[in-house]
């Protein structure tokens, strides 16, 4: 079965109500404040960060600008380890969360809309701060945590010493679980809203054309949810790559995840370490932005070549 992708494009803004701008000044007055806040606070923050990471810190007697701090960070053997660990954690948690979210979305779609309790409970993780779940994970997964107690009661191990390390561990299990728990409802609800809007008609057509379960999923459901799935992936990846709280609480002290490492250097008593901390922060931002631009370019080319998905 080979479907050629329909690449006729609709006009960018299909909303019939969108009208011509009421004039530059009126539009500027409406959008201006928001843009100004972002430009000054966000742009200013990044710009000043860059200046400091280039070594311009008059208070500490550093006047010249150079890439030395960036070079120091990049040449540090710990950096590569931290980068690999951070990439591993954020990619793994994104992939697991996306996989389970697709299953959950298809499942929730099959529930009747009446089943409001399930939907309500499913929304709870959206409002819970990451920090709280990380604390709960400590209580559940440490060698003296709840899981270990259950395993002892079942007679599988004799003492907490025999329980595998799930927090502050090599594989970041606690961090992964926290992110997966937190992000699944987010991705699921994003996909679910698309599926609800597209309605069951296409799937019914597929059924009348004798498409099997897998075929219906592969050629109808998946292409429908793909754009929002991609967006959700990027948001989750960007968040997990740059978040501090969860790896700080549940991660190992060596190697550290990049955000923790950045903050450790930034808050070092040695003022000279500070520009390196900021440089690491900017590298994190750079990796995230590059990853997002690349994935956008990749999907664009894939679309132009007519590949499905």
């Amino acid at each position: 079965m080979c479907l050629k992708r329909d690449d006729r494009s609709l006009p960018k803004d299909v909303d019939a109500r969108t009208r011509i701008s009421p004039g530059f000044f009126k539009t500027a007055a409406l959008v201006g404040p928001a843009l100004a806040v972002v430009a000054i606070l966000f742009g200013g923050g990044l710009g000043l960060g860059l200046v400091q990471s280039l070594g311009h810190l008059p208070a500490a007697g550093m006047q010249s600008m150079s890439l030395a701090h960036f070079a120091n960070v990049l040449e540090d053997p710990d950096f590569l380890q931290s980068l690999v660990l951070t990439l591993y954690v954020s990619l793994t948690s994104t992939v697991i969360a996306v996989g389970l979210s697709i299953v959950m979305a298809v499942f929730l779609l099959s529930l009747s809309a009446k089943n409001r309790l399930v939907h309500f409970i499913f929304q709870i993780p959206l409002t819970v701060p990451h920090l709280v779940i990380a604390v709960a994970m400590v209580f559940m997964l440490t060698p003296t945590g709840l899981l270990s107690r259950v395993v002892v009661k079942l007679g599988l191990i004799d003492s907490s010493a025999a329980f595998p390390l799930l927090v502050n561990d090599r594989w970041g299990i606690g961090i992964l679980l926290t992110y997966v728990w937190k992000e699944i409802p987010f991705i699921t609800l994003m996909i679910l809203s698309v599926l609800r809007r597209s309605g069951p008609e296409l799937l019914e057509v597929g059924r009348t054309l004798k498409a099997g379960r897998w075929q219906r999923f592969r050629y109808i459901t998946l292409p429908t949810i793909f754009p929002s799935l991609g967006a959700a992936c990027l948001i989750v990846f960007a968040y997990t790559f740059g978040a501090f709280e969860v790896p700080f609480l549940l991660g190992r002290t060596y190697p550290m995840m990049l955000p923790v490492w950045a903050y450790k250097n930034y808050s070092d008593v040695d003022l000279l370490a500070r520009p390196e901390g900021i440089a690491t922060g900017l590298i994190i931002a750079g990796v995230v932005v590059v990853a997002i631009v690349c994935s956008q370019v990749l999907t664009q080319t894939a679309r132009r070549r007519g590949m499905i998905l």
Partner: protein
């Protein structure tokens, strides 16, 4: 049989969502709970008495501090976000794509780099360790969300009602309060809720700009986790979740759809 599997899946899912809260509640009401007991040997209110009694002034001031920061951030971000969302949702103009990219950046770039960069500048402006400084740094990340939510709301909004009201002699003020606000209120609530929740759960940016002086709940919670008193940390965690949970209860109807893009 199919129904059975369906119920089992739903039950498993609910259990996974609720388990962390169950653990926190059990810890917060335990006074003696040794390894490897499955449930506390002795239940009690020690942690809660500590939270609202001995350390009460600290915890409650943390709660108020968090609440004020999040409320003020949410209010400003809605106030600035509504007009921007209106322009982006209703009109076509040059540079709309660029504006959209500029507004997406703070959503993608982690708060830590921006907060680190802003610190020195805020230090010069005297904004570090102040309430205002923390609100400003939170605003950087909350504002784009409220603009995006309001963008969605206004692209489904029919401004013809305003023309009709105007032809009936309504003033600009009345157009806003009697036509626009009532029609977009659910969207405004969602935008405000997102900003509130995002600000509510910020830790590192608060720590960097607030310098430990603006003690919101996450700052207190981190300090408590360091001290190792599990029942108290559990109780504070519950206090930390409660307002967000209440907000969800009141707004369950509004959430969902494309608007959820905002909550991580």
């Amino acid at each position: 049989m199919k129904a059975f599997y369906r119920n089992m899946t739903a039950a498993t899912m609910i259990a996974f969502v609720l388990l962390p809260f169950l653990v926190l509640i059990m810890w917060s009401f335990s006074t003696r709970w040794f390894y490897p007991q499955l449930y506390p040997a002795q239940w009690g209110l020690r942690a809660w008495q500590y939270v609202f009694g001995i350390a009460g002034s600290q915890i409650i001031s943390g709660l108020i501090q968090s609440m004020l920061v999040a409320l003020v951030t949410a209010m400003i971000s809605v106030l600035i976000g509504v007009p921007a969302g209106r322009a982006l949702g209703l009109y076509n103009f040059k540079g709309k794509d660029t504006i959209s990219i500029i507004l997406t950046l703070p959503v993608i770039v982690p708060p830590l780099c921006v907060a680190m960069g802003l610190h020195l500048w805020f230090l010069k402006l005297g904004l570090t360790e102040t309430f205002g400084g923390v609100v400003l740094v939170h605003l950087t990340f909350c504002l784009p969300y409220s603009v995006f939510v309001m963008w969605g709301v206004f692209s489904n909004y029919n401004p013809d009602y305003e023309d009709q009201a105007r032809s009936l002699g309504a003033t600009s003020w009345k157009l806003i309060t009697r036509v626009m606000l009532p029609l977009t209120l659910p969207g405004i609530m969602v935008a405000g809720l997102f900003s509130f929740l995002l600000s509510w759960s910020q830790y590192l940016s608060t720590l960097i700009i607030g310098g430990g002086r603006v003690t919101t709940l996450p700052i207190l919670l981190f300090a408590l986790m360091g001290s190792g008193d599990r029942p108290v940390a559990a109780a504070v965690s519950i206090v930390f979740v409660a307002p967000a949970f209440l907000a969800l209860l009141f707004s369950a109807g509004y959430l969902g759809g494309r608007s959820i893009t905002g909550v991580r």
